[in-house]
């Protein structure tokens, strides 16, 4: 009997939870705020769903509700992607070891 592809996705999911568990415990507490903003940015990879929804089946400038919802989702996710990565970058720039007695 063939294994349902769902099982494979479930395996990826469960294993990723474990990876997440160990990786996040190794994050230094002083970087917990950047951790939150970067997880925010990467969870906006949901934009791939929004792009599919936005482009689905439209060929001649006729937008279904489904397309429009997709386009809106693209904008929201894009705010998060750009905002999230850039604000993380801005924060991480600040974490520098200062030279003693300048």
């Amino acid at each position: 009997m063939e294994i349902d592809p769902f099982i494979f996705r479930l395996s990826i999911f469960i294993l990723s939870i474990f990876i997440g568990y160990y990786v996040v415990w190794s994050v230094t507490p002083s970087l917990h705020t950047p951790l939150m903003s970067v997880t925010n940015a990467i969870s906006s990879v949901i934009i791939v769903g929004a792009i599919i929804a936005g482009l689905a089946g439209n060929s001649d400038n006729e937008f279904t509700i489904s397309n429009i919802l997709g386009l809106l989702a693209i904008s929201l996710a894009a705010v998060n992607i750009f905002g999230g990565f850039l604000v993380t970058q801005r924060m991480l720039q600040m974490y520098k070891k200062k030279k003693k007695d300048k």
Partner: protein, 464 residues
């Protein structure tokens, strides 16, 4: 692009996201980590465009919407002050939640585009996954909006409770399961809409009873939810990048919530059930007016610090409110010129989100190797001359160690009272969020400095 090839690329971006989080294990590797994250995102988006392969006029609109969102995001990222990070993160969470909802609705209306069947006969597994993704997304959205309003001060930070609240919430949660079941058995879109409305309501009701100072837990929890929502959508779209990311973010938020709860010595359910700080007032009613305190001015404080050989700074939310981090750094610079050793002690729940104080100190150019966590520094207080508490309160309260009646009993606190002298910058004698009095105020070696944190710090610097 073939489905297999794009699946490989999605896997690659999933791995890059893991590396992005891995990079945060130390400040040196963190910037590289962020770069991996950006790379992963770029790959995922590019691959999606190529695999849809529909380069009709619709593509222009997609790019325009992408650009608008991107510009707004970039603008916010550059403008936002570091003290407003908790609000920003809460706001961003709401966007993840809402996009999850929009994608789920879109897939529900047009299942063919996602290979999920046709309207009215969507695959059973997809319907369940879609419902879970949409429900968690909706909860994340409305919950984050409330958290944002509370943090922003638009909505009062005090808990809002009503009779039968927990029972009502429990019934709503059960109804989600029932609605999902009905949706799957009838395929009627009405149930899907009701499901969404109920979920929005749950998110709202879940956060209103939680007080302002419990926000670190709330934000971490919503962070976790946004991850699970993304994973739910990932299962629907059969996209491994989304599944991996969702799992990573979900567990990351869960761990942060756990760390925050531990920092307050409260169970997760205790925080979620809310209402903390509303009913505890009676505990503080023991005649505090009769106890003498010593209060001083900037000159006294400067004198004490000038004669110290080591000073430990304990920052809290009040420092963020007063935007005092730069003034504080200037004061510390002056102290260092006088050969005084200065370190910073940070309690896990200081501020309104995990790591809040660290970011503010980093912004003020404080070297991160002078900043220590509670366990690292707690033994040093006994050897330090002066503890400078700026905008923190409950996290220094010795009652957590020696008063079993106290509502915060058992919470890990900074042993500030062990210092030779304690300087306490505070606006008034009012108790902290827990509504309890701090014994530290009345200790003989404590000098209260009643003023705005920023102004007081500047005045001290002038007097040094």
């Amino acid at each position: 692009m073939s489905a297999n090839l794009s699946a490989i690329f999605y896997l690659i971006s999933g791995v890059l996201f893991i590396l992005a989080l891995r990079g945060l294990s130390s400040p040196e590797t963190s910037r590289q980590g962020n770069f991996f994250g950006i790379l992963g995102m770029t790959i995922a988006i590019t691959v999606t465009f190529l695999s849809v392969g529909n380069f009709s006029s619709g593509l222009i609109y997609v790019l325009i919407f992408l650009l608008i969102g991107g510009l707004v995001g970039a603008f916010i990222a550059y403008k936002i002050p570091m003290t407003a990070m908790p609000e920003l993160v809460a706001g961003f969470h709401s966007l993840v939640g809402l996009s999850a909802v929009l994608v789920a609705v879109s897939a529900f209306l047009n299942p063919e585009a996602f290979n999920l069947g046709s309207p009215g006969s969507i695959k059973l597994a997809s319907l369940i996954e879609m419902s879970i993704g949409a429900a968690i997304g909706a909860i994340t959205f409305s919950g984050s909006i409330i958290a944002f309003l509370k943090l922003q001060g638009i909505m009062s930070g005090s808990p809002i409770t009503f009779k039968g609240q927990h029972l009502f919430n429990a019934l709503l949660l059960i109804s989600i399961v029932a609605l999902t079941y009905l949706l799957c058995s009838t395929q009627s879109s009405n149930f899907f809409w009701i499901l969404l409305v109920v979920s929005f309501l749950i998110g709202f009701l879940l956060i209103i009873p939680i007080g302002g100072a419990d926000m670190p837990v709330v934000i971490s929890m919503l962070n976790s939810y946004s991850g699970w929502a993304a994973a739910g959508i990932g299962f629907t779209l059969e996209n491994s990048a989304l599944i991996i990311t969702g799992a990573l973010v979900g567990s990351s938020g869960a761990i942060l919530s756990y760390i925050m709860c531990k920092g307050m010595n409260r169970s997760f359910f205790n925080v979620i059930l809310g209402g903390f700080g509303a009913s505890e007032q009676s505990a503080s009613s023991r005649d505090k007016e009769h106890r003498p305190i010593k209060s001083g001015n900037a000159e006294d404080a400067a004198f004490l610090m000038k004669n110290a050989s080591s000073v430990i700074i304990v920052p809290g939310y009040g420092m963020a409110v007063a935007q005092a981090q730069h003034a504080l750094r200037e004061m510390v610079d002056t102290l260092k010129k006088n050969d005084i050793k200065v370190t910073y002690a940070i309690h896990p729940v200081a501020g309104r989100m995990p790591g809040h104080m660290n970011v503010l100190l980093a912004e003020a150019n404080v070297s991160y190797d002078e900043v220590f966590e509670l366990e690292e520094i707690n033994n040093d207080f006994a050897n330090a001359d002066v503890a400078f508490v700026i905008g923190a309160n409950d996290v220094t309260n010795p009652a957590a160690k020696n008063d079993p009646q106290s509502p915060i009993y058992g919470m890990p606190v900074l042993d500030v009272e062990k210092c030779k002298s304690v300087l306490f910058v505070k606006r008034s004698l009012s108790p902290g969020y827990a509504g309890i009095d701090n014994d530290l105020f009345y200790k003989e070696n404590t000098l209260m400095l009643f003023a705005d944190a920023k102004k007081m710090t500047e005045d001290i610097t002038k007097n040094l």
